[in-house]
Subunit: 214 residues, 2 copies
DNA sequence: TAGATTGTTAATCGATTAACAATC
DNA sequence: TAGATTGTTAATCGATTAACAATC
């Protein structure tokens, strides 16, 4: 790990977890913490924590440790949570509605600005403070509002159909709950996949192949 | 990688993805596929695919490749999808309801048998074919039905409160959507976490730190 | 048989852990 | 100053890729 090297995905994916633990420590009123103690709480090694943090800069003090509040805010900045990326959600079925209502987009760098669906039964319904719009009006919406991020809560086939349209309307960032592999189709796109089925199957594997405890 | 070594998490987490791609190929009517072609479609190397599969056995034929249908079923068996682990879901808020209705538990090795919540407003409602039960009756339910897996769709604090009870009722396998770190609390427990917020923050990082394309 | 592609061993690459000098 | 703990370099470990003999 030398300065200027791109940060590895392994490190990036640990950042939100650090952020969570620090948030908790802060709420407990903990002022400082050493890498050793944080490591113990998180089930990591102190070395790893120091390596991870030093990808972004020296946030600690030798002989003292890290200031919880300071580190918390630093990681928030690194994650880019101070941004407000305008975001649309497509697919207001069970999952889409849950994501729309459940997620604290504003605290994670996003602002959910519109929801689309193609089902007549759903269009017009209110979710949070938003009226579900007809997917047919998507292009018009994009031209006036230029959303940057799309949350995809549609079945695979619908996403496949829609992919081109989304791309043509300038969307390059996707939070993808479908099983359609967007990243394979477009080069210059950033896709964060949430594959719930994969997660469930992984659990099944782990249960099935768990060491017997008798 | 020697025979008898435990399979690494990296390999395990790729299995559901293989399973998905093979399912698709099967639906297309593709009979055989080489590691090279599958690799190309999935954005992996042929080497990796052969290494991964050979953790579990030799499923191919030299000079020919893999039979799609055969490999698909083999991976299903490896994943343990033929099981029917009795599963309860706790927390019937937006997310819990979406998970309950959206997931094909039966095709992933599970059977959802009961749903619990503590809110008077939700208890008694029907989700799928199930009536949401009072969380106060959880212990009684566990004693009669012995569920093995719990899906946790509660806020962090509720899970924290509930953890002991679940453990005492014999539950050792968890699909955890909350931010509470069960794996830290109990030794002999298998927890598959789905941290949607972490995923969203990771996306935020990747957008914020994406290479400029001007 | 010749061509193709696997299964498997060896080489490389990257990520984690250990060690320690720097320094608060 | 002495003790503690960081930042950083070096060592280890594991995962991915390359190479190739085995064989269909």
């Amino acid at each position: 790990m030398h300065k200027g090297d791109p940060i590895s995905m392994s490190v990036i994916r640990r950042l939100p977890r650090y952020y969570r633990f620090l948030s908790e420590l802060q709420q407990n009123g903990t002022v400082r913490i050493s890498s050793r103690e944080l490591a113990q709480r998180m089930g990591l090694t102190a070395s790893q924590i120091r390596q991870d943090l030093n990808c972004f800069g020296g946030f600690g003090q030798q002989g003292y440790g890290y200031l919880v509040n300071h580190l918390y805010r630093e990681i928030g900045t690194i994650l880019g949570l101070n941004h407000i990326y305008p975001t649309i959600l497509i697919g207001a079925g069970n999952l889409g509605r849950a994501v729309a209502t459940h997620m604290a987009f504003e605290q994670r760098g996003f602002e959910l600005t519109a929801i689309f669906d193609h089902s007549k039964r759903i269009i017009g319904h209110k979710i949070r403070h938003m009226v579900v719009q007809d997917i047919a009006t998507l292009t018009a919406y994009c031209q006036t509002h230029s959303p940057q991020v799309a949350v995809l809560c549609l079945p695979k086939d619908s996403v496949q159909e829609l992919a081109e349209t989304l791309y043509d309307n300038g969307l390059r960032f996707f939070w993808n709950f479908s099983h359609y592999d967007l990243a394979m189709k477009f080069e210059d796109v950033i896709v964060e996949n949430v594959h719930l089925s994969d997660s469930l199957m992984t659990l099944c594997y782990r249960i099935t192949n768990a060491p017997e405890k008798e």
